[in-house]
Amino acid sequence: MSFLVAAIRRDLLLAFRRRNDIVNPLAFFLMVGVMFPLGVSPEASVLSALAPGVIWVAALLACLLSVDGIFRTDFDDGSLEQMLVSPQSLHQLVMAKVICHWLISGFCLAMISPLLAMMLFLPGEGVMPLVLSLLLGTPALSMFGAIGAALTVGLRKGGVLIALLVLPLYIPVLIFGSGTVQAGAMGLPIAGYLALLGAILVFSTLLSPFAIVAALKISVRS
């Protein structure tokens, strides 16, 4: 357990030394949101209907944008290889990396999402479901993203390929995530949606570490 904590602390420290990595996805999230009133229509009625989907898609893209970096720097300076041959549990190592990625992307996105909700005229009842659904859904996004990042870390041009691999896995999270917000905004119960997001989260936490570890081994040894 102490290894997990130490690994998370190391990655967080590294992230705080390069603040751009934290700020960039958040700025991207807000800017994508701003494109919609300008591009579609500034009318409140149109925007409030679009808001749940738009905010969720923006959050998903912001996550996707930052996911490539999970293993990239460690791979480039060779420390990832050292970690793979070390006797520490690889499971805990990748979990630490995923948790750290979530803390600096998904968690922060959820925290600033009410701002975007206000800009897009999301009804007040929808804000709480938005934050809750993002808190429950984005860890799964980090998890799936890490699979894609681990598969492509050895490639020089991973960018578009990651999106191709990861977006299909993001679809269920997007459906139930924006469904939560839509239901919440209409004043309907959201427990069912949250339960499904929770189920996806539990499921991905159980299985994706195996896939991430296997993928890392393949990428590093090639």
Binding site: G187, L196, A199, T205
Partner: protein, 145 residues
């Protein structure tokens, strides 16, 4: 217990517990009506919200289809053999639309309890059969009644 076995045991326990939790959450989610689909009796019992976009399913009531002479406006009753809801739609209906057919309508419920559909889709099942057999089955059913 050796440390290795202990580790394996923890992994297996975590997998079993997690799988159980995921299944439990899914079952709970399925028991909630999350895809905003209502039957006609749920709507007649005021279980559905007014003015929200949703889907409603049911059978088209025999002899209830009324078409306007000058527009594409059409109104018909939908039933689940318990209660009936009137649906209003203007647009082109699918080929399969006919009396007694299962239909899914998408739209909003207004204050008068009339369903304002903006899309009408015909549902069919996997029981394909030739017309003659369908005819004899229908006759047999009528004879039993």
């Amino acid at each position: 217990m050796t440390p290795k076995r202990k580790k394996r045991l923890i992994i297996i326990l975590a997998l079993v517990f997690g799988a159980g939790l995921a299944v439990g959450l899914t079952m709970f989610a399925l028991s909630q009506n999350i895809n905003l689909f209502y039957s006609t009796s749920q709507i007649a019992n005021n279980e559905a919200p007014v003015g929200k976009r949703m889907r409603m399913g049911g059978m088209v009531v025999d002899g209830s289809v009324k078409r306007a002479s000058d527009t594409l406006r059409v109104s018909f009753g939908l039933t689940d053999y318990e209660s009936e809801v009137t649906v209003v739609f203007s647009g082109i209906l699918p080929d399969l639309f006919r009396e007694g057919q299962g239909i899914i309508a998408q739209g909003k419920l207004d204050e008068n309890g009339v369903f304002q559909a903006d899309e009408v889709l015909a549902k069919h099942d996997e029981n394909y059969m030739p017309p003659e057999i369908a005819e004899t089955m229908k006759k047999r059913q009528e004879a039993q009644q």
